[in-house]
Amino acid sequence: MERFSLDAAHLLAGGMVLVSFMMLYQNRILGLLNVFAAHAVVLSLSVAWQAYVQAAPHLFVTAAIALLLKAITIPVALHHMVLRLGVHRDIETVGGIGPTMLMGMGLVALSMVVMLPAAAEADPIAREDLALALSVILLGLLMMVTRQNAISQIVGFMSLENGLVLAATGARGMPLVVEISVAFSVLVAFIVIGVFLFRIRERFDTIDTQALDDFREGRE
């Protein structure tokens, strides 16, 4: 049982890294939103499994928040927003898909090299989970850097926060206050972003953040 619970936890956390890679090569916004929903579902499963293994019922709340908020509400809302704004077209990436995937692999290797020895004394679930969580965080960062479109940057940021939740639940006994605050911050962030998206749209007729940069250079 001990062995199985460990393997299942690693499987789910590894699944998140895999879905993060899937996000990297999506070239349509709607497709990206679907994959992000899948990311949140895997996160929710992973957190629920941790809750079961650690016998920590409060983690089920975190799992439920992840499922309801990040797997259903936010993707659906963004979906509507994208259709309403009429921006469901191709996403332009900086540097192309191939090099991005290679960089992603490099980042995963990096997080393994950094985290596994550093957390050598921690229990095995936490150790591997932490390394995989760092991979998810770095892949989220990579996505934010390589996408110019505001919505894909948001999705990258939210996948990054999913990695944080994974890390927080892997740390046995970490107080609930942090998980709730993470979920809460995503919500607030989402509202803020929603406001900004509409504002940016109003001003520029595009949600491509490149337009913002062009504007800036023109000014100074």
Binding site: V114, M115, P117, A118, A119, A120, E121, A122, A126, L130, A133, L134, I137, L141, M144, A150, Q153, F157, L160, E161, L164, A167, A168, A171, R172, G173, M174, P175, V177, V178, S181, V182, S185, V188, A189, V192, I193, F196, R199, I200, R203, F204, T209, L212, F215, R216, R219, E220
Partner: protein, 489 residues
């Protein structure tokens, strides 16, 4: 006095949080500009008074989520003071912005509510006795300032807010990962649950933590909170956020928010220093500090927008402060603390002046602002004094702290003193060069005065304090800072 404080129906430390918290909710309901501005001043003033009582009365850390020690009380008192003076400045400044139609009256409730929410989150971040709570507070402060920076709803303001939001969120996310790692390091020693995130417990047991985990954690905390401090190369959000938001917010950003992030960084530096096997955090801070100093000093020459100019000067000074704390030791830490205090006071004073300059001249372009001392003598000369202070001319307070820093660096690491002095001189040259153009010569045309003039009082109070500190530092203050400098190691 202590007896009197015991008579109060509330603890002062709670009041520092409760007053801004209630005021934020209340002000969000008040659409009248004058009433809102007065209440904003009142709430900020009361918060400052309550913060002052923390100097003599400390809560018991065992029964509270909050705690006060010699280090954070300096930050709290300084922060609430600048918050108070800025609220006075903001009252008249925002009034003017409404009159000229730059700010829609509908945003007043939002602005005042956010101002107090920001004050609440900064005080929470400074007094929280829990690394998780501290993180939540910094996140809250980030979100409130993002909303404030975008207040004018112009293209430039939205762009600045968006950039700030993205970079700030990423920074804050990395800081959370670092915080989780700190918990992981503490858990085997302290046990599961809340205790392993309580600051006072952490520092007491830090020697037994796994040094490898602490090292990795510090890298993330440094990148995360370092972004909020505005250290190069993580500074990209800072100039835009300062230049495009309302000027009172620029003053609060430079005078307060950067300090809160710096405080978080210092706390974790103390944690690492308490573990004999962890990597020394000093050299990392020194490197980032020097890079920020030189980088910002060079870029000062290229600025064409007056608010951006002083935003880059903030990066330069945060670099100096990080350098001082990175050097460590009683003298450099003392210089760092003094410099931080002086920088907060001077930089917010400069933004008070710059805000008015931009209003009377109707532009933020440095090239279009000339001869201020002739057309607006009080304002012009205040700006001259402020810039002379921030550039480090004697007898102002910043000269004292910079002199201490340079001389102690020469004594210990002469090689490091060379880039330090080069950076200081470069920045000095840029600021004085820009100042002569703005302050002297034939005056450029002014906008017709729209009646209401912003209050000069906060500006003058700040400059007088900086001047007095440069000439004479009171004995108890010196003893206090020396004590904190020892604490920081």
């Amino acid at each position: 006095m202590t007896a009197f404080l015991h008579q109060l129906p509330f603890a002062p430390i709670d009041a520092v949080l409760v007053i801004p918290g209630i005021a934020a909710l209340l002000l969000a309901l008040i659409p009248q500009y004058k009433l809102g501005a007065r209440l904003n001043m009142l709430a900020s003033g009361l918060t400052f008074l309550c913060a002052l009582t923390l100097l003599i009365e400390r809560p018991d850390p065992a029964v509270s989520f909050l705690f006060v020690d010699d280090l954070n009380v300096v930050f709290v008192v300084l922060g609430t003071f600048v918050g108070f003076t800025t609220s006075i400045f903001s009252a008249s400044y925002i009034g003017h912005e409404i009159e000229i139609g730059r700010l829609k009256p509908g945003y007043i409730r939002f602005y005042h509510g956010m101002y107090q929410a920001l004050s609440f989150s900064m005080n929470l971040g400074l007094t929280a006795n829990n690394v998780g709570l501290m993180w939540v507070a910094v996140e809250l402060a980030t979100l409130t300032t993002v909303l404030m920076v975008g207040l004018y709803r112009t293209q430039a303001a939205l762009e600045a807010a968006w950039k700030y939001f993205i970079l700030g969120s990423v920074g804050i996310a990395l800081a959370l990962f670092g915080t989780i790692l700190i918990y992981m390091a503490a858990r085997p020693v302290i046990g599961e649950g809340h205790d392993a995130m309580v600051w006072t417990t952490l520092i007491a047991n830090a020697a037994a933590f796994s040094p490898e985990l602490l090292n990795v954690a510090f890298v993330f905390l440094m990148l995360g909170y370092g972004t909020k401090v505005g250290l190069a190369p993580l500074h990209a959000w800072l100039p835009d956020a300062h230049a495009e938001g309302p000027t009172p917010i620029s003053a609060v950003l430079s005078g307060l928010l950067l300090n809160v992030a710096l405080y978080a960084l210092l706390r974790f530096k103390m944690l690492l220093a308490a573990n004999p096997f962890a990597v020394a955090p000093g050299p990392l801070l020194v490197t980032l500090g020097l890079v920020s100093l030189i980088f910002a000093a060079l870029l000062l020459y290229l600025r064409r927008d007056i608010k951006r100019l002083f935003a880059y000067s903030s990066i330069e000074h945060m670099g100096l402060i990080a350098f001082a704390f990175g050097m460590g030791g009683p003298l450099a830490n003392f210089a760092g603390l003094l410099h931080m205090t002086m920088h907060s006071l001077t930089k917010s004073a400069i933004f008070f002046a710059v805000g008015q300059v931009a209003q009377v001249k109707g532009t933020q372009k440095i090239a279009d602002i000339r001869g201020l001392t002739e057309s607006h003598p009080t304002l012009g000369w205040s700006l001259v004094v402020g810039v002379a202070a921030i550039a480090g001319l004697p007898p102002m307070g910043i000269f004292t702290s910079e002199f201490l820093l340079v001389s102690s660096t020469f004594a210990r690491e002469p090689l490091l003193a060379i880039p330090l002095v080069v950076g200081l001189l470069l920045a000095f040259g840029a600021l004085i060069w820009r100042l002569t153009g703005v302050a002297f010569g034939k005056p450029s045309p002014s906008v017709v005065d729209a009646g209401r003039r912003p209050s000069m009082l906060p500006l003058i109070i700040h400059l007088v304090l900086v001047l007095v500190a440069g000439i004479y530092l009171p004995g108890p203050l010196v003893a206090w800072f020396q004590n904190v400098a020892r604490m920081l190691g």
